[in-house]
Amino acid sequence: MTCRQVVELMTDYLDGALSAVDRARFEEHIAGCDGCRAYLAQLRTTREVVGRLADEPIPKTVEDDLVKAFRNWKGKSG
């Protein structure tokens, strides 16, 4: 496997979607290749940074509206 091929397999690798043979070849390449290890680390970091968007606080106005809507709903279905 070349680096050019390995980088295109990284999402399959992270998702556990490679065949056993491909996975072994992939890991063998990675073990000896600083560049591909760095690229894999960057993709993992990218995934983490994207994941942090989930932690953003809800805008206060939305929260207030929702709480109000929920109270009304509870009141009605009682």
Binding site: G35, A38, T45, T46, V50, W73
Partner: protein, 171 residues
């Protein structure tokens, strides 16, 4: 949920309305939830459907703008520029490691958000559901009615695009 809604409708106010409508729909139809998917997937499905129909209404007003953009979401073309490799297919200009302090900055988050917003919709919805909402591959395939392979190709292209932006910003 807000992120997912904004995948489809760009206006934050409108996305907030979608989320609110989605919560109300969830509350009203909770008894219809059959447990065939996880509750989380079910809720995201509701957000997605509401946001999509809102987008359809919106796009009648803003016609064609998106049709001109080429969408290579399902293409297998390389995601890393050929110039980064030598003729032997090995790195000629390998990636560096990133400075942690800058990766975690607020400015980085803003750029990541903008990068996701600029992706074609097919990639945007997959990366939002997988990496922001934290659904697994099977759940995303089910929600979007796409194959496991398409799901992975779109996710790969989306992550590669965000990575590339980060690399340029962080160097």
């Amino acid at each position: 949920m807000l992120r997912l809604a904004m995948t489809y409708v760009r206006d934050p106010g409108m996305a907030e309305e979608v989320v609110q409508e989605a919560w109300l729909t969830c509350l009203r139809s909770l008894e219809k939830f059959e447990g065939r998917s996880s509750l989380k997937t079910w809720i995201y499905g509701i957000v997605m459907n509401l946001a999509r129909s809102r987008k359809r209404r919106e796009s009648r007003i803003l016609p064609f703008a998106s049709l001109w953009r080429r969408d290579d979401s399902d293409s297998r073309r390389p995601t890393v520029e050929a110039g980064r490799f030598g003729v032997d297919g090995l790195w000629s200009s390998p990636p560096d490691s990133w400075p942690e302090s800058k990766v975690l900055s607020g400015e980085t988050m803003l750029r990541v958000k903008a990068a996701i917003q600029s992706l074609p919709i097919k990639q945007r919805e997959v990366i939002t559901l997988r990496d922001v909402a934290g659904l697994d591959a099977d759940e995303v395939c089910g929600l979007l009615s796409i194959s496991a392979e398409n799901q992975r190709v779109r996710l790969h292209r989306a992550r590669a695009a965000v990575r590339k932006m980060l690399e340029e910003y962080l160097k």
